[in-house]
Amino acid sequence: MVAVKIEGNRWEGFKGFLRDLLGEGAVGAVVVPYPVPAGDSFAHLLVKEPSRVDHAWPVAPVMTVQGGRVVSRLTRKGPVEVPTVVVLRPCELAAMRELIKLNQVKPQGLLTVSFDCPGAYPLRSYLEGNGEEIKAAFLNALKDFRLAGARPLCQVCIRFTGAWADIEVGFLGAPQGSFYLIAHTPQGEKALEALGYTGQEDLAEREKAVEELTASRVSEREAYFREEFGPQVAGPEALLATFHNCINCHNCMRVCPICFCRECFFESNALKVAPHNYLMRARRKGGLRFMPDTLLFHTGRMNHMSLSCVSCGACEDACPNAVPVSRLFAMVGDRTRAIFQYEPGRDLEEPIPFLDYREEELQEWEEPYIQSTTHCPSSL
């Protein structure tokens, strides 16, 4: 393992590191968030020219497009031909790793760089607010790791480090005015060595800081879902009230990095039925809301993808009517994943629970199948 401490401004240092990777020829391209010319938002840019990296924002204050989707598009038709760095938030990286398992990303040639993420602002509050002020506040958050006004889900994020990346950029636990570069894979080590970085910095302080923050976030997250958010959404009435504003636009599904299906079941003809079917349902209940099947869409989608949900919050950012979709999916996902002790993105060799089974498991979810005599009278 290679781990080095870089002295100097964290922001400039991070960009300098990316520029050096590209400039020294260690890689051929960099995918990194970049301010759009109008200056009020960000987009991922596939950068070839090293000087362009100077204007990038490797840690952007908002998440416009989920990076997992970006990488998926980049490699849909095959792996990249030149080594390419992709700079991703931890949740984007988790999504990308999940997509590798789902054969939606070809990882060959990609060098992932991730970082201690302070969170992101809700897209809307950022676009409507004063961009310059918010940018300044955000850069400050890289120092103390407190982002006032971050998305609610970011505030209870428990996977906020780049530990799953080839190269992790560590701010936590580093003395002010410095940061760590940590290689977690042979590719990462090779890239760092190409820039002349060798050695093994003592990371005990950092590990302690990460551990402490993780522990407090884990209990905050659990308490938030159990005491604050959970009661607002659980139960038929509360759940319906949560979704009453949903206009069934399916934006949440379209921006989701995990929802990669070319045709979503909920947009397929399976749910488009003849008028008499709607009339029958209306007769049975006395009326039928249009568009129909709103709750079916959301709960159905939970069944299909909550195990792989990385709690990135892209769905909630995309919702035009402020439905707290991402928190709902994160809350449910935390519980469904616990059944299988599964964590999306953790291990590329770990199969998605739908594609795996144990012969002896989950007995509490089934009726006991050891035959009891009451079920099989001998008189038969």
């Binding site: 959404v233 659980a234 139960g235 038929p236 509360a238 759940l239 319906l240 009453h244 079941f265 349902r281 049975r284 209940k285 006395g286 009326g287 039928l288 809301r289 129909p292 099947d293 709103t294 709750l295 079916l296 709960t299 159905g300 939970m302 069944n303 299909h304 909550s306 195990l307 809350m331 449910v332 519980r335 469904t336 059944i339 299988f340 629970p353 739908f354 089974y357 144990r358 012969e359 498991e361 989950l362 979810w365 089934e366 009726e367 199948y369 035959q371 009451t374 079920h375 099989c376 009278p377 038969l380």
Partner: protein, 141 residues
């Protein structure tokens, strides 16, 4: 005066075991409540969790998924997948407070006609105790 509550239960039965068991219960003239509406599927793993949710949201009071015993699946491992899917669905219903006890997973072999009748009877009684599914009359789903 409203009519007394009669549960409506949708049963997804696997072709190779549980449906055959239902058939056996029928030809053996066993008595069981008529509240179970049977849908035959080729394997319990054919039951997409969305089927279960759809049935419940459209007003079914209970959903039974039944297949071959673990280890006996005609397709080797379908029922193991089905068990994972049903566990997931029940967990989601539980997290949202939507009554996971309205979904039941049961293993009924082809020869177990009496067990089929028993499961149908017990589950109907269970649902009768729970009362009507609140989604039955809910328009704004």
């Amino acid at each position: 005066m409203s009519e007394p509550f009669e549960p409506k239960i949708v049963g997804f039965l696997c072709y190779w075991c549980s449906y055959t068991a239902a058939d056996l219960a029928g030809v053996s003239r066993m008595k069981y409540p008529p509240n179970l509406r049977v849908i035959r599927v080729m394997c319990s793993s054919r039951v997409d969790p969305v089927f279960i949710i759809k049935a419940l949201l459209d007003g079914a009071d209970g959903v039974l998924v039944a297949g071959c015993h673990p280890g006996d699946c005609h397709y080797q491992k379908g029922n193991y997948y089905a068990r994972r899917k049903v566990a997931l669905t029940k967990k989601i219903l539980e997290s949202l407070g939507l009554g996971p006890e309205r979904v039941k997973l049961s293993w009924i072999a082809a020869s177990e006609g009496p067990k089929f009748a028993q499961v149908a009877k017990e589950f109907t009684e269970e649902i009768r105790r729970l009362g009507p599914n609140p989604a039955r009359a809910e328009i704004f789903l």
